[in-house]
């Protein structure tokens, strides 16, 4: 936690003094140059290109784009696809909430009661995710399809109506998102809970806190950075996700990721796709910014 405070050497005077001063002024920038270049090349330049793409007019025939400073494209696209943004927000929020509710007890139990088998339990948690993301989702599609064995069985035993279906519903998409992003919630939570000093908990008990009070007033507050990190790591990718919606969803629950994908890969509407991407990114950045403001940017480094 302690910061290294630069010490001023009393004997550095005269010419060497000014050189040292320059060096001292520049050194933080020089030291951060690699990171700065990295950010510039892999974040700011692409971001700028995406922003400029949203102002261009592209020919769907040749794919060539010309800068036309078309500021109207972004609001136009947002007005066309506002509903899909809301759907994405809602689905991502639901999936994140479900993940937090499921993961917290798991992470808590492994961290506190896992004992010497902690690694084993963590690996057990992760094993399903060793299979590719797409394949797992496709298998769910297979399991839950209308004529698949699960629904056939339920229908034949009259547990559900003949018209009952899972695929194509918002529920299926949320479930898919929650399933696919579970490790992104569970692991930061585990890290946060694992590092809680047990002596703090002992102290709480010494001070006559019952288990509930100790949990609510000690463990939960100490796990908050982990919860927030888990929230970001789950919510942001889920917000832009399109695979789950494409495979498990239907016509009434298109997410913004699907729209962006279609704009780029089917409709050749680069400006439209870029505009929507800009909005998606802005929403994500606001989330990260809020996190940094509430918990400090250091907390992001700890968990992400």
């Amino acid at each position: 936690m302690e910061r290294s405070v630069p010490t001023h050497h009393p004997r550095s005077i005269g010419r060497s003094h000014s050189r040292a001063k320059w060096g001292k002024r520049l050194s933080p920038y020089l030291l951060s140059l690699p990171a700065g270049l990295w950010l510039l090349l892999l974040f700011l330049v692409p971001l700028f290109i995406m922003l400029s793409m949203s102002l261009k007019t592209c020919s769907p025939a040749s794919g060539q784009c010309y800068m036309t400073w078309n500021w109207g494209e972004l609001p136009h696209q947002v007005s066309l696809y506002r509903a899909q943004f809301y759907t994405s927000l809602l689905f991502a929020a639901c999936a994140t909430l479900i993940d937090l509710v499921i993961s917290f007890p798991i992470a808590y139990w492994i961290a506190f009661y896992g004992g010497r088998r902690k690694n084993f339990f963590l690996i057990m948690l992760l094993v399903p995710f060793f299979v590719s993301f797409i394949i797992r989702t496709l298998v769910w599609e297979f399991i839950l399809s209308n004529n698949g064995f699960v629904l056939s069985f339920l229908r034949n035993s009259h547990l559900v109506s003949a018209n009952f279906h899972v695929l194509g519903t918002g529920f299926a998409v949320i479930a898919g998102l929650a399933y696919n992003y579970l490790p992104f919630t569970a692991l930061p939570l585990y890290v946060a809970i694992e590092r809680i000093d047990r002596r703090v908990l002992d102290a709480a008990h010494d001070l006559y806190a019952n288990r509930r009070a100790a949990f609510m007033r000690v463990i939960l507050p100490l796990a908050v950075p982990g919860i927030f990190a888990a929230f970001l790591l789950t919510f942001i990718p889920a917000f832009g996700d399109y695979v789950n919606q494409e495979i498990l969803g239907g016509t009434a629950n298109t997410m913004i990721g699907t729209v962006i994908q279609n704009q780029f890969l089917i409709n050749s509407d680069y400006a439209g796709g870029a505009s929507l991407s800009v909005v998606l990114l802005a929403v994500s950045l606001i989330g990260i910014w809020a996190y940094a403001r509430v918990l400090g940017s250091r907390a992001i480094e700890e968990y992400i």
């Binding site: 892999l42 209308n146 298109t254």
Partner: protein
């Protein structure tokens, strides 16, 4: 004390798990990839103009004279579009055995827009798409784009002897390619209505069935904007070919309502047929031949094609040679081969789309050469008399039937295409 010890040695270092998830790195990497993609588009923007210009002499007589046969051809087509017997294609096998040209036949085209999007970067960069023949539909703007941008090789009419002799009036020198400069039709078909007769008892004879609340949640629509918009226009009683932008927005409202009422199960590409087969949908927009092919399997005998009273949309899929194709002469050879009545008879007996070669009807009724053998072995699987196909007005349409079919709206400008897309795309990818 034991607790303290446990704390000092808490199994695995949490940082390991942090490393496992590596979100910070991966997100940056993801952005990095996005950046590389965007950078390449930027570069491509600046270079495309120069490098995509086709060779001026391409497709001229002297250019064709210099081309040689390479005894291989890469043919990209749509699924369910050629004769199949136990995983092989008899008509292709006969072609290979008589000409020595091996055919790489791949069924990679699911819809025009996304396939165009896949091949365009290669074409713009002046590279081969990897295909010598692609099949694009007349009702979509993409075929027009390819022609306008000079991305198709003008055909060698000296190699089109079968075509000149046998091509039917429906597809010869069509409006989208006068004089067949760039294209030869593969098949034509109708976009009509299909339904499962076991579950749909009184289908009527109108496109209204697609909008009926009776089948809410079990109606399949097409994700192709042109197909979707056109059926919307038919449903409000407007001729698509002569429709106006006002009509389009009325049709869009009708289709939007159809979706918000929960009638639509999904907007599908070629996969619509699978959804109709497996019961996800009971009524669907369909392409004429697919239903006949599905009927070949006794499991799907209940699927029925209906040509609605409002009319069915008539389209043609066209074979064409993209520029920089490696084997243009081989491509010409096989394209013309399929204008022989025998080859068409074999294809039609299997796929039941509209035949571009009217004389194939006689070849099918009275097979004599190699096609007799091919048809006989196909018959063991299909089990129907040749006359069922030969006498079908869906395969060999009467002039009256052709006259009754509807044409798509021909877009006159990019603005019109944009207006159409702005109305119908949000329905397909709607919330």
């Amino acid at each position: 004390m034991s607790k303290n010890e446990e704390m000092a040695n808490p199994g695995i270092d949490p940082s390991f798990w942090r490393g496992m998830t590596q979100p910070r790195i991966s997100r940056r990497q993801a952005l990095g990839y996005a950046g590389a993609g965007a950078l390449s588009t930027l570069l491509w923007d600046t270079m495309a103009g120069a490098s995509s210009l086709p060779n001026a002499s391409m497709g001229t007589k002297s250019w064709w004279a210099k081309q040689k046969l390479h005894h291989t051809v890469n043919f990209a087509n749509w699924p369910y579009y050629i004769d199949v017997l136990k995983g092989k294609h008899p008509s292709l096998e006969h072609f290979t055995s008589t000409t020595g040209i091996a055919v790489n036949y791949s069924e990679v085209i699911q819809d025009n827009a996304s396939f165009y999007q896949k091949i365009r970067p290669s074409l713009a960069a002046g590279q081969s798409t990897g295909y010598d023949i692609i099949v694009m539909t007349s009702n979509n703007p993409q075929l027009g784009y390819l022609i306008e941008l000079g991305w198709l090789v003008p055909l060698d009419h000296a190699m089109m002897t079968n075509y000149e002799k046998n091509a039917g009036p429906l597809i010869k020198s069509p409006s989208w390619d006068p004089g067949n400069k760039y294209t030869m039709a593969w098949q034509s078909g109708w976009t009509a209505v299909g339904y499962n007769s076991k579950l749909v008892k009184s289908p009527g004879n109108s496109v209204d069935i697609l909008f009926s609340k009776k089948y809410a949640g079990r109606v399949g629509m097409m994700s192709d904007v042109n197909e979707l918009g056109s059926v919307g226009l038919l449903a409000i009683g407007v001729e698509p070919a002569t429709s106006t932008e006002k009509d389009w927005s009325k049709a869009a409202t009708k289709l939007q309502l159809q979706k918000s009422d929960g009638i639509v199960a999904g907007y599908y590409d070629q996969s619509y047929i699978e959804h109709l087969k497996n019961g996800d949908t009971v009524v669907s927009q369909v392409w004429s031949g697919d239903i006949f092919q599905a009927d070949l399997n006794s499991k799907y005998k209940d699927l029925v094609l209906m040509i609605p009273q409002e009319g069915a949309m008539l389209w043609t899929d066209n074979m064409c040679i993209p520029i920089h194709a490696a084997n243009p002469k081989d491509a010409m050879t096989i394209m013309d081969y399929y204008y022989g009545p025998q080859a068409q008879a074999v294809v039609e007996y299997y796929n039941d789309y509209i035949c571009p070669v009217p004389s194939a009807k006689q070849a099918l009724l009275h097979p004599s050469g190699w096609e007799a053998t091919a048809l006989r072995s196909l018959k063991t699987e299909i089990g129907l008399a040749y006359s069922v196909t030969a006498d079908s007005s869906i395969v060999f349409p009467t002039p009256q039937r052709v006259k009754e079919s509807k044409n798509y709206y021909q877009f006159k400008s990019q603005e019109e295409i944009n207006a159409w897309n702005a109305l119908f795309l949000p329905i397909i990818q709607g919330a």
